[in-house]
């Protein structure tokens, strides 16, 4: 059996694996190509998801191994973490994001509980993103006006 310090080191490294997957340095995406008009993008999200009057967001970017930059959007009041992939025409839509994580439903305590899930995340991953966002992310407050309407429904 390994001595206790070694076991602790192994445990630390294993716990850090999902965090390392985020990429190296978190960054601000303010002004970065593909992330233009953040207030408009966030406002459309609030309207579509029927958010409240005041909505606090934090957006933090990460550079992928292939050089592409994507961002995670923490919507405090919406209790959600949303993946922002830049769009060719600059008209990104978080409503159509590939990952819209509910921080109430889609978070588990440990990696073991993921059981191969394509989308569930661990609490440590969420905390790491939120911490990065607080440190270097861009903060926005979106106030919904009465004139903003609901999105349409569909029978796809």
């Amino acid at each position: 059996m390994f001595p206790k310090p070694t076991r602790l080191l192994v445990a630390f490294v294993l716990a850090a694996i999902p965090l390392l997957a985020l990429g190296t340095n978190p960054l601000s995406v303010r002004g970065v190509e593909g992330f233009t008009n953040p207030e408009s993008v966030l406002r459309k999200l609030v309207v579509a998801k029927r958010g409240g009057t005041i909505n606090n967001f934090c957006v933090v970017g990460y550079k992928d191994p292939d050089g592409a930059t994507t961002a995670w959007v923490h919507w405090v009041e919406g209790e959600a973490m949303i993946w922002w992939e830049p769009a060719k025409d600059g008209t990104s839509s978080l409503v159509e994001s590939r990952r819209y994580l509910s921080l109430r439903r889609d978070v588990v305590a440990s990696e073991k509980q993921l059981k191969g899930s394509t989308y569930l995340v661990t609490r440590s991953w969420v905390n790491h993103v939120i911490s990065d966002c607080k440190a270097v992310g861009d903060k926005y407050v979106i106030r919904k006006t009465a004139a903003q309407t609901r999105g349409k429904s569909s029978k796809l």
């Binding site: 992928d64 839509s93 661990t122």
Partner: protein, 257 residues
């Protein structure tokens, strides 16, 4: 010389459309006069014309592709100059029904693979992602209990396993959050006025083709078995998974350790 053009004023002589509206331009090559635009067949109707740029003699022509078929559109100026536009109309591209396995798989692929609006998108990688995803579904059937689908014997049961594929646990119930993303691809593929329509058509057609062939997946490219995927920067799907190759279009595939 009169001619039909697209929105970027490039001359066009033929178009392939799906059923739905379409705007083209008719350029008189001189100051605008009154023009007539007629269709040779009821598959394409001329809804109307409006002057877009009088001094340049450019008109917007509103067409309606009403049903599958073909038609010749002829535009004629007051002085008698004319141009023709040959149009072929095909049916709208629709997803397989929701209550079929192909319909379920196609919707999963559209939800999970980067759409043509993504900056890094290309059809080759999108096709590879779709094929690998269908392979993952089939591989999971060999050991469904590991993926929250104990006793599963069908791809449907694998997809609907709790907590495995976002929005599909109770498909078609509680599926609404995914609809804007999936509907967006279908709508764009059927939007004749969208410059990137063909990208979305190709993407949608690939999803449908691969979904229809869900029972015959590609040969496994990994050294063990591809059994999962995650979007970029999303961590590992669990301790018994190891990353396979490099990520594609923001998707990292995983094989059995």
């Amino acid at each position: 010389m009169a001619k039909f053009t697209d929105a970027s004023n490039t001359a066009i002589s033929a178009l392939n459309l799906v059923v739905g509206p379409k705007h083209v331009r008719f350029d008189e090559g001189q100051k605008a006069t009154s023009i007539t635009v007629k269709s040779s067949d009821s598959s394409v109707k001329v809804v109307g014309t409006v002057v877009f740029d009088g001094p340049e003699g450019i008109h917007t022509v509103e067409l309606s592709a009403a049903k599958a078929g073909s038609a010749i559109i002829t535009g004629t100026t007051r002085s008698g100059q004319s141009a023709t536009l040959s149009i072929t109309v095909g049916p709208r591209i629709e997803l397989p029904p929701r209550n079929t396995t192909a319909g379920l798989v196609a919707r999963l692929l559209l939800a999970e693979v980067m759409s043509p609006s993504g900056t890094k998108y290309n059809l080759t990688d999108a096709t590879t992602c779709m094929e690998r995803m269908v392979l993952v579904l089939n591989n999971r059937l060999k050991n469904p209990g590991q993926f929250g689908a104990t006793g599963a014997t069908t791809v449907d049961e694998i997809i609907k396993a709790p907590g495995q594929f976002a929005g599909f646990d109770h498909f078609p119930n509680h599926y609404a959050p995914l609809i804007p993303r999936i509907q967006g691809v279908v709508d764009n593929a059927n939007n004749n006025n969208l410059p990137s329509q063909s990208d979305f058509q190709n993407h949608l057609n690939e999803a449908i083709r691969i979904a229809n062939a869900h029972a015959t997946p590609i040969t496994d490219p990994s050294s063990t078995e591809l059994i999962g995927w995650r979007t970029s920067g999303h961590g590992s799907p669990g301790p018994s998974f190891v990353a396979f190759s490099v990520q594609l279009l923001g998707t990292q595939f995983f094989q059995r350790k």
